[in-house]
Symmetry: C2
Subunit: 142 residues, 2 copies
DNA sequence: AAAACAGATTATAATAGTTCTAGACTATTG
DNA sequence: CAATAGTCTAGAACTATTATAATCTGTTTT
C-alpha cells in the first residue's frame, strides 16, 4: 500500500519539475484519485471547478511533461482525442465503444504470444492490446 | 489467388454505391496495389497525381463509405491522423515509431489469450494488438 | 532580502485533420 | 429524354492541439 509518491511535491521533485501552483494542483487531481484515463479538456475542467485557474495550454504542457517523466502514459484510441493514463505499469485496456470509457486490464491477466520479430528491424518497445467492447451481448450468432 | 473483386466496378456494385468517376478511381488506387495503410490526404495526393481531380471532402466521404461497407478498416494509432487499412481480415499491426508506417501481422501468427470478460457487461467486438517498434535494437539490457 | 536569471504560465493566434453546408452536377430510372 | 435521388465540391466551420511572445514566478546568487 506504499504509493510511490506520498504527495505531489515529492513527485514533482523526483521529475525535476518546479513545483508551481498549477503543476501541484494538476498532480493532485491526477494522482490522488486512483487510476484514471483523462483527456486534457476534462482535467482542465476539473481544475477550474476546484478553483485552480490554470490555462488549457498549461494543462497540455504539464500532461506532456508528466508523460516525458514517466508519470503518465498517453493512450490513443479514437482520432482527435488523447487519453492520459495514470497507470504506467504494463497493462492493457477495454474500450467501451458506446461510452468512450477506458478500463484497465492488468498486464498479467492477458498473454500475447508468438509475436514475430519486426520484419524491418528495430526492437519491440511495447505491445498494446485494446479490447473493443460493444453494448449488446450478441452471443455466438452471426 | 482469387481476389474478392476483380475490378473496382464489381466492388462498388457489391457495396451498393454508384460507380462514379471518383469512387472508381479511389477504389482502384486503394485495392489494386495489395494491402495498404493510407491516410486520407495521402490518397488525395495520389488521386491528383493520377490526374483524377477529386476533392478532399469526397476522399473522406468515400473512405467512410468503404469502411461502412466493410471494404476498409480504420486504424487509429496516433492522435490526429487515421489510417485506412485495405486488409479487413483479422490481423494486427507493427507500428514503426520513427517512420510512422504500419505493417500487418497475420491474425493467426499472434495469440491473445486469457482475455477476461468485460467487467461492465457488453461483448467483445474486436481485439486490436499494436506492436510498437523503435529503431535501435537494444537487446535485453536495461 | 534584493537582484538576477531561468523557467513557467497565459492569452491569443495558428495549425492540422476532419466534418459540415448548400448549391451544382450526374448516374439511374421510367 | 425528364425526373429523381444520389453525389460532388468549394469553402466555411469545427475540434483538439500546439506555437508565440509577453508576463510572471520559483530559484539562485549576491
Ligand atoms: Mn501528445
Ligand atoms: Mn472517421
Ligand atoms: Zn490504463
Ligand atoms: Zn493492416
Amino acid at each position: 500500500m506504499t504509493r510511490p509518491f506520498a504527495n505531489a511535491l515529492e513527485l514533482l521533485r523526483a521529475a525535476r519539475l518546479r513545483p508551481t501552483r498549477q503543476r501541484l494542483a494538476l498532480a493532485r487531481l491526477l494522482f490522488e484519485k486512483g487510476d484514471r484515463h483523462v483527456a486534457a479538456e476534462e482535467l482542465h475542467g476539473e481544475a477550474l471547478a476546484a478553483q485552480v485557474p490554470v490555462s488549457l495550454a498549461t494543462v497540455y504542457n504539464t500532461l506532456h511533461q508528466f508523460v516525458g517523466a514517466g508519470l503518465l502514459r498517453e493512450v490513443v484510441i479514437n482520432p482527435g482525442r488523447s487519453y492520459f493514463d495514470t497507470n504506467v505499469s504494463d497493462h492493457h485496456h477495454f474500450f467501451y465503444e458506446d461510452s468512450g470509457k477506458l478500463r484497465d486490464i492488468p498486464g498479467d491477466s492477458i498473454a500475447v504470444t508468438n509475436v514475430p520479430p519486426p520484419p524491418d528491424g528495430g526492437s519491440i518497445r511495447r505491445v498494446d492490446v485494446v479490447v473493443r467492447v460493444e453494448k449488446a451481448a450478441s452471443k455466438a450468432r452471426s
